[in-house]
Symmetry: C2
Amino acid sequence: MASSWIPLCAEIRASASAVGKKEMEGPLGDRFDLCDPDGRFGAATWEQAESEMQRMVFQTALAKGEIKEEDVGALFAGDLLNQCVGSAYGLLDFDIPYFGLYGACSTCAEGLLLASCMVSYGVFDLCGAVTSSHYCSAERQYRTPLEYGSQRPPTAQWTVTGAGAFLVGRATEGAKRPAAVIRRGMPGRVIEKGISDVGNMGAAMAPAAADTLLRFFKATGERPENYDRIVTGDLGYEGGTLLCDLMRAQGYPMGDRYADCGGMIYHRKKQDVHGGGSGCGCSAVVLSAYLLPALLSGELSRILFLSTGAMMSPDSIKQGESIPAVAHLLQIEHAPAQQNGEGARV
Amino acid sequence: MASSWIPLCAEIRASASAVGKKEMEGPLGDRFDLCDPDGRFGAATWEQAESEMQRMVFQTALAKGEIKEEDVGALFAGDLLNQCVGSAYGLLDFDIPYFGLYGACSTCAEGLLLASCMVSYGVFDLCGAVTSSHYCSAERQYRTPLEYGSQRPPTAQWTVTGAGAFLVGRATEGAKRPAAVIRRGMPGRVIEKGISDVGNMGAAMAPAAADTLLRFFKATGERPENYDRIVTGDLGYEGGTLLCDLMRAQGYPMGDRYADCGGMIYHRKKQDVHGGGSGCGCSAVVLSAYLLPALLSGELSRILFLSTGAMMSPDSIKQGESIPAVAHLLQIEHAPAQQNGEGARV
């Protein structure tokens, strides 16, 4: 059972992204929907700024999809903050049933996978998946307040200030417009390989990504070369290299088709964020702003998308525990428009 | 859409509960499966004790149901600790796909509702739902370390040391044994009514429970008198009274059929826990040890079960926010054995 994948038939009807200054200055900077260069989004604290990002980004996704709030059956949302307050406060304005998630940086794929299950199997017609992270709220919660000016090791990653929202409905056959359709899912197992260095979370998460990918390839008979891109959420430069090594050793070399959202979001040399980007928002904004448009246009026709989460807490690390990690996988495909299609897409 | 309920057809195949000393000394004390009077469960820290409770209780549920680990399609788990480490570390031993949840004390019903959706609609054959709370880990995280000896206001609730695990499969018609079947679900919305007193979380959560119950009654046409019991998770004495008042004011008096797990788990006078029990474990252990056996025996034939969660964090309260809350609802019924039943129940 742990090795079975889930057949899905879910279409991402709309999405939106919001980011801060550093993300806007990165290679994907002109693609995001919203940006606040001072990262405060009009709020008094960093935590409230993160909530406000979620509120704005979900509102924007509704508007882009021309979808009414009352048509959304359920929200799946989570973030990195203690008790996931980014989501609980951020989505308070919406009168939509709410399932709170904690998957650390795997939340984007976790929420999309659950939302896709719900709409593919007829529990709801339409679901939302929302997540966020904020550099300033994450630093003071997980590491040290920014004012402390702590030094970071070369493998440390930079938490993306960003939020992504997605609206997922059942895919309609023969639609008039091209679509990005989630065809398969594979939930991750919690994997722990003894890494306890919170300055190198890519290394802790790479085995979880490898576990999910290997189970998926073995269960489906697919291979890396059957996909245009295999994209992880935030392994960063170090973790991404480790994942490629692990996969090659198992007979599944991924080559140039492998990419990591944490590697795509910042200029590696010019911006020097050390290990690359990370955080729940990292894979969410890259999926919304770059991968989905490429899937809709047909530039990409078939990808695997995995968000990767490190599930430790600052307390568990102080108590000598190592870092458990999880990676959830989605297979997302370009579905071309049908010339005589009648299927209405909301 | 926010007012629609979910038709379900899920059977709780097995469950287990573990508690500490205070819960063992309460009115339901002899019904729990496992108890460690010193609350440490053999672990070095309170957080690790909570993880160990989860591991033991899930292992026990598997054993009671004679279910193999590899037959469980997915786990839905969460707890109150920062980054939900009680669950992430506690269930690490099991090679089962893992969906991390954060619903505060609503986690028991949230996990059961998601698991029930998955098995009722054919995503998985069998799912697990696990949650926990621990008085000692919760106190030092949310309030003060125990050694500080802080005084508590009369409305403050006592976090239950307890963990509950449930294994949920699709209900089989015409089975040879009686069953507890989840027939309907209603996910909660996040509701916030301006309460910011963390010493009175029942008051913050009561409006969320009322919102879910009222939406459910209006959508289904049911009334409180159609149920043997309407049970909330951990509103405590204060919150429970408020909920009854709110429901009566809306024309749905609940009378004696209303009960709260936080009121049932401790002796009100003899144990004096002030506002009653609370915590993710509260509704989970009362459901597993008391409500489910009563549903299986036929003593109860039809109940509504709502776990209630307060979604604030210590930081959000310090920043002047009030307490958002959520309540997820399940309708659980006694399904009698069929004399000529052929349906195999694993």
